[in-house]
């Protein structure tokens, strides 16, 4: 991935650090840095590397102290806001040019901080326009500047400085000798922070938290002390568990799945979860509950299978180092972070876990838990039927096929990033890519929504089709179905509609390829099963001389016809 760092101080230190960290985290970055205080040139010179290299991401790091430098010395106790406005607006103008010139690049800009303090410390806030107010003033400006720009996001670097303090973050020796003010520690932390934003951008995030109960969701061992004896309260030390649960609920609200894996007697534990007055996470919050005396490996395997997610999407939280070790040794892909020894640190611990970073929230995120729950019901329901077609009919499925639009683009991009099993080519696209495709007359982006008697599954299918050879051939660039709906003939309906659409437009052939990965076996025979013939290079479907397979149990609403008319 091409990344560019632009700023008004020496960024080489930061870029080196970011590069080393990305290697450890196995994210392939190619980083270019602007020369010292050259960001303006990198923005207005349209022949510069900024534009030539088509970066996916640009980080802009403007140090406010440097930006306002001599203003501090021009005035004594009060600062001239007009002069500050001039400087800030000038910089933001450049960023505006960049954002408009590169609509397909994600631009991250650091929020503002001042790294030295005023010599008039006790005048801060006691007079108008004091030094202490500048940071807030500039950040408010920055926020209203980025609001209308969809491809610019703020990096909350100020929060790092608050957490570690200026004394740890700033190295004046480097500031005066190399024009980079960050300390060794600061560089490491900022690189980590930038990488969090990169990962959030590409949608690299865990999906599920598997939780232990005793000494994890509450204090004490329920089997020994009983429901009244556990630590869980809205006051006192038990409040740490209450807060911890509240934070987990917040993750749940954004679509992170919760599950229980606990060695306990099920009735006792469940009664507490249901009835304890300070239990935030009531039984329905957990998609799967494995409360038994089996070993945790077996339970976690069943959890992964029931929800249908990979081990690399799971975070396992358990206070016992023994249980963490055994899970890690069986499933090294599972993250097993060490819980703090002191439970009062649990809320802080969960807030600082870096597995669940978002850059925006899609509707599907907030509804994900609902749809996973419906899916588990569906699977259980399926066992009542010995005839699969009867089962399909009974689901009362309605599929809607449409072309990508602004509200569906974030979800479509997310699907290309996260879908592994039913994904013919596994090309990963960003929101900006999909945006670009949907504006390109030679590329069509489709999505499929599925509803059934259990509820709305949301967008669960995505296809990118390229028109290659004028008028005769269209090519499947991407075709993917969410693992939640595999085995429900959705893919057949989806490809049928795509075929019918191009047939009407007098195309002759639809071609595609299957690029095998470790995880996409479920769609290995997709082409064969849908009458494509392999020509040695591509799978080819002859639209003139083939009829699509009927799927009578699914109602189809195509929004594509409207486009044709």
């Amino acid at each position: 991935m091409q990344v560019i760092l632009l700023g008004n101080y020496t960024l080489d230190f930061l870029s080196k650090e970011l590069n080393s960290l990305s290697i450890i985290e196995e994210i392939d970055l190619d980083i270019i840095v602007s020369g010292y205080n050259q960001y303006r040139k990198y923005i207005i010179d349209f022949n510069s590397q900024t534009y030539k290299t088509h970066p996916e991401i640009i980080f802009i790091s403007l140090d406010l102290t440097t930006l306002l430098e001599n203003i501090f010395y021009e005035y004594s106790e009060r600062l001239n806001k007009e002069r500050i406005d001039e400087r800030i607006d000038e910089s933001l103008d450049y960023i505006n040019i960049l954002a408009n010139k590169m609509p397909n690049t994600m631009i991250f800009i650091d929020n503002f901080y001042l790294f030295h303090r005023s010599v008039y410390q006790t005048l801060n806030y006691n007079i108008d326009d004091s030094y202490g107010e500048i940071e807030t003033y500039c950040n408010t400006k920055l926020k209203s500047f980025i609001n209308p720009l969809i491809n610019v996001k703020i990096v909350d670097i100020r929060d790092l400085i608050i957490r570690y303090g200026l004394n740890q973050m700033i190295d004046y020796r480097l500031h005066y000798t190399a024009k980079s003010h960050w300390s060794f520690k600061a560089l490491k932390e900022i690189a980590k922070l930038y990488l969090r934003y990169i990962k959030a951008f590409i949608g690299k995030r865990k999906k599920c938290i598997v939780l232990d109960l005793d000494n994890t969701l509450w204090g004490g061992i329920i089997g020994e002390v009983g429901s009244e004896g556990i630590e869980l309260s809205n006051d006192g030390p038990g409040k740490a568990f209450y807060d911890f649960q509240n934070e987990l609920k917040k993750l749940y609200d954004l679509g992170i799945i919760l599950a229980i894996n606990s060695k306990n007697t099920e009735e006792i534990a469940l009664a507490t979860i249901k009835e304890h007055p300070y239990m935030i996470l009531k039984p329905d919050y957990f998609l799967v509950k494995k409360i038994n005396w089996k070993n945790k490996i077996e339970n976690i395997k069943e959890i992964a299978e029931e929800i249908n997610i990979g081990y690399d999407s799971i975070v396992f939280l358990d206070d016992s180092p023994y249980e963490r070790d055994i899970v890690k040794s069986y499933y090294p892909q599972i993250e097993t972070p060490e819980l703090p020894k002191d439970s009062s640190l649990y809320p802080k611990f969960i807030r600082e876990l870096e597995y669940f970073d978002f850059l925006n929230v899609t509707k599907d995120d907030t509804k994900r838990n609902q749809s996973y729950r419906a899916n588990i019901k569906r699977n259980k329901y399926q066992h009542h039927f010995n005839d699969i077609e009867k089962y399909y009919y009974s689901l009362e499925m309605i599929a809607t096929i449409s072309k990508a639009c602004s509200f569906s683009i974030p979800r479509i991009a997310q699907m290309t990033q996260k879908t592994n099993q039913f994904n013919l080519t596994t090309y990963r696209y960003t929101e900006n890519d999909i945006n670009k495709f949907s504006e390109d007359i030679n590329i069509d982006v489709y999505y499929l929504r599925l509803e059934d008697k259990f509820g709305d599954n949301g967008i669960i299918g995505t296809a990118v089709i390229r028109q290659t050879n004028p008028n005769k051939v269209v090519h499947i660039d991407s075709f993917l179905i969410s693992c939640r709906v595999i085995g429900r003939t959705v893919e057949t309906v989806f490809i049928n509609e795509i075929i019918n659409y191009y047939k009407k437009m007098n195309y002759h052939y639809l071609t595609g390829e299957y690029i095998p990965t470790k995880r996409n076996k479920p769609c290995k025979d997709f082409y064969k099963d849908h009458k494509f013939k392999y020509d040695g290079k591509y799978w080819v479907y002859d639209m003139k001389n083939n009829k699509t397979t009927k799927v009578p149990w699914m109602k189809v609403e195509s929004k594509l016809e409207e486009v044709l008319k």
Partner: protein, 78 residues
């Protein structure tokens, strides 16, 4: 590990050269990747490893393995 071995290890890491090519006589002038930015990164790594802090005026001087060892021994003795 002796001070000089640790210093050589860090030089090798920061300047991306083989440890065998670094000796007591090595200095910034005969290692191509030892530029001004690299020099400061190297000093930061040294400070982290030995848990010391150098003065701005010392940092400039420490452009060879020998000078680094001297500066470090002085710090560590105190």
């Amino acid at each position: 590990m002796k001070i000089e071995d640790k210093v050589i290890k860090i030089i090798s890491k920061v300047f991306e050269i083989d440890e065998n090519q670094i000796g007591l006589e090595s200095e910034a002038d005969n290692i191509e990747s030892w530029d001004s930015i690299g020099h400061l990164r190297f000093i930061m790594e040294l400070e982290e490893e030995f848990n010391v802090k150098f003065l701005t005026s010392q940092i400039r001087e420490m452009a060879s393995v020998k000078k680094c060892i001297n500066a470090l021994s002085e710090k560590l003795d105190n």
